[in-house]
């Protein structure tokens, strides 16, 4: 057919017109201008904030107890060691959450009377665990389950991870379910018409589209969980928060908490950027870009 070859021929012959070149030059100037303006306004705002903060009467006192560089440096190794535990817990919990949440979401979307008990169970579970505060789940799992003497002895971080999985799966399964239900039913129909089984349709057609639809919400939950891994410290696990607590007591200075807080931000930041990038990319790929 000729439609594509025509387009290619005209593409090689085309040269931008004078008008278009002028427009491009204008756009370039505009971009340069807006970069300049935003840089300036950022500097002015930062300056104002710093001036207000440093100029306040209690600043010297606050700086000493919260922003002491020597304490920060001295406490850093211990806190980093703790953070490594947080990261391990985070990775394990994330995997656990995705798997368990997918199971829950799939159970909730099953149709037919046979599956009523499973559906009801999954619904009850998500209701319950979205209602209970994480810290209570942590206490119940962290102190209660080992008390059963049913399981082999495990480090507290293990039970903390389980508690995180139990709680966050409830949220994430709802996100998944919303995504699954947002996939147009005709997609399922088209897949089944091709002879794909229910499972294949779910894995190849529904879930990938559902995932894309809910990526921002998922990443949001992930970032929330990234902070909440710090809560395993209540069980006595020596993570970054617990390490900071120990260092704070040691130096009679709150700087280690600030250090731990900054580390958590640093940990979350790439993920936040990545989320933005990924969702922008899939959007660009799946719907032809328009200017607005």
């Amino acid at each position: 057919m000729t439609e594509t070859t025509d387009a290619r021929d005209s593409a090689t012959a085309w040269r931008p017109s004078a008008i278009e070149l002028e427009r491009r030059a204008f756009r370039k100037r505009q971009t340069g201008r807006s970069v300049l303006v935003s840089a300036l306004s950022t500097i002015v705002l930062a300056g104002l904030l710093a001036w207000a903060l440093i100029g306040s009467p209690g600043w010297a006192q606050v700086q000493q107890t919260f922003f002491d560089p020597t304490v920060a440096l001295a406490s850093l190794p211990r806190i980093l060691e703790g953070l490594w535990l947080n990261i391990q817990v985070l990775v394990a919990a994330s995997i656990g959450v995705v798997v368990f949440a997918l199971v829950l979401a799939t159970l909730r979307t099953l149709r037919g009377p046979v599956f009523f008990p499973l559906r009801a169970l999954a619904a009850g579970y998500t209701d319950l665990f979205r209602g209970v505060p994480l810290i209570i789940v942590l206490y119940l799992i962290g102190y209660g389950v080992p008390g059963l003497d049913f399981f082999p002895r495990m480090p507290v971080a293990f039970w903390g991870t389980i508690a995180l999985i139990l709680t966050y799966s409830a949220y994430v399964s709802e996100v998944f379910r919303a995504g699954i239900e947002a996939v147009h039913p005709s997609q399922r129909l088209a897949a089944r018409s091709l002879g794909l089984s229910h499972g294949q349709t779910m894995r190849r057609i529904v879930l990938p589209q559902a995932f894309r639809k809910v990526t921002p919400a998922l990443m949001n939950d992930f970032v929330a969980m990234q902070k909440d891994v710090g809560l395993i410290s209540v069980l006595g696990a020596v993570d970054a928060v617990r390490a900071a607590q120990i260092e704070t007591a040691h130096y009679f200075n709150f700087t280690p908490y600030v250090v731990a807080g900054l580390l958590f931000v640093l940990l979350a930041w790439p993920m936040i950027r990545l989320t933005d990038w990924v969702s922008a990319r899939t959007r660009a790929r799946e719907q032809v870009g328009s200017i607005v």
């Binding site: 057919m1 000729t2 439609e3 594509t4 147009h184 005709s186 997609q187 129909l189 088209a190 897949a191 089944r192 018409s193 091709l194 002879g195 794909l196 089984s197 294949q200 190849r204 057609i205 990938p208 589209q209 894309r212 790929r285 799946e286 719907q287 032809v288």
Partner: protein, 253 residues
């Protein structure tokens, strides 16, 4: 008008007393229909007459309340038959939302070959590219469906439906969601499939196209077949009064 002969003894598709009701509303009221190999049958009828429902029952997407659906003599409406196997033997194209937006055009076309028929990827892709090339879409093989125009998407969907060499192709108003200038290219593809001997049952509002391409036209009204006649006879000398009324209304539009 086409002059293909349906000489194979056993029909590809045979419907016997197919009935489907939604509550009190009887949508298919005892449908009897035979479709021979290489035959092209057009289903026409007013909106709500049951054309889409009939196509969905053939593909086992819609359960039937009574009757039999025989695919090459096998009763596929028997609940003991694996519906996935039956669907893999039938190609279907709907009105819209056919392609999977998260898969490239080539992956769309090769999906069923790879997953259902277990064709190795390289082999499936070779066939898929060949098919896409045959409809002038080879350049779009790696693109995502949203890059294609509506007509190109529908043509890709049709190619996807025939990629696994189904025994029967069902088309449900494949052009009615398209802008008028895109209808022609899709109909041209259907015509070339018909000329190539594909067995087709298609619901359509395109009377001129039905007349040109179909061997037989079946007129549905309120879930019953009112008239089932060779295309030329259907349009030039319909036997039933209601067919005449239907055609008159169409010509008036």
């Amino acid at each position: 008008m086409s002059t293909r002969s349906a000489s194979v003894a056993e029909p590809v598709l045979r419907l016997r007393g197919v009935r489907r009701a939604f509550g009190e509303h009887v949508v298919l009221d005892g449908i009897d229909l035979d479709v021979a190999a290489h035959e092209v049958v057009a289903l026409v009828g007013a909106s709500g007459s049951g054309k889409s429902t009939l196509l969905r029952t053939i593909n086992l997407i819609e359960r039937i309340d009574d009757g039999e659906i025989l695919l090459r003599g096998q009763d596929v409406s028997d609940p003991r038959v694996d519906a996935d196997d039956v669907r893999a033997r039938i190609g279907v194209v709907f009105q819209h939302y056919n392609l999977f937006p998260h898969l490239s055009v080539l992956d769309n076309v090769t999906l069923a070959s790879r997953l259902v028929h277990r064709v190795p990827r390289a082999e499936a892709e070779r066939q898929g590219l060949e098919l896409l090339a045959s409809i002038g879409l080879a350049d779009f093989a790696r693109a995502f469906p949203d890059r294609l125009s509506g007509g190109q998407q529908q043509r890709a969907a049709i190619v996807r439906a025939i990629a696994t060499g189904p025994e029967l192709l069902l088309l449900d108003e494949v052009t009615s969601a398209l802008d008028p200038e895109l209808v022609g290219e899709v109909l041209a593809l259907v015509r070339s499939l018909a000329d190539g001997g594909t067995t087709i049952v298609m619901a359509t509002h395109e009377m001129a196209f039905a007349r040109e391409v179909a061997d037989r036209v079946v007129f549905l009204d309120a879930g019953r077949i009112i008239e089932d006649a060779p295309a030329r006879q259907f349009f030039e000398a319909p036997r039933e009064e209601r067919t005449r009324e239907f055609l008159a209304r169409f010509l008036a539009d």
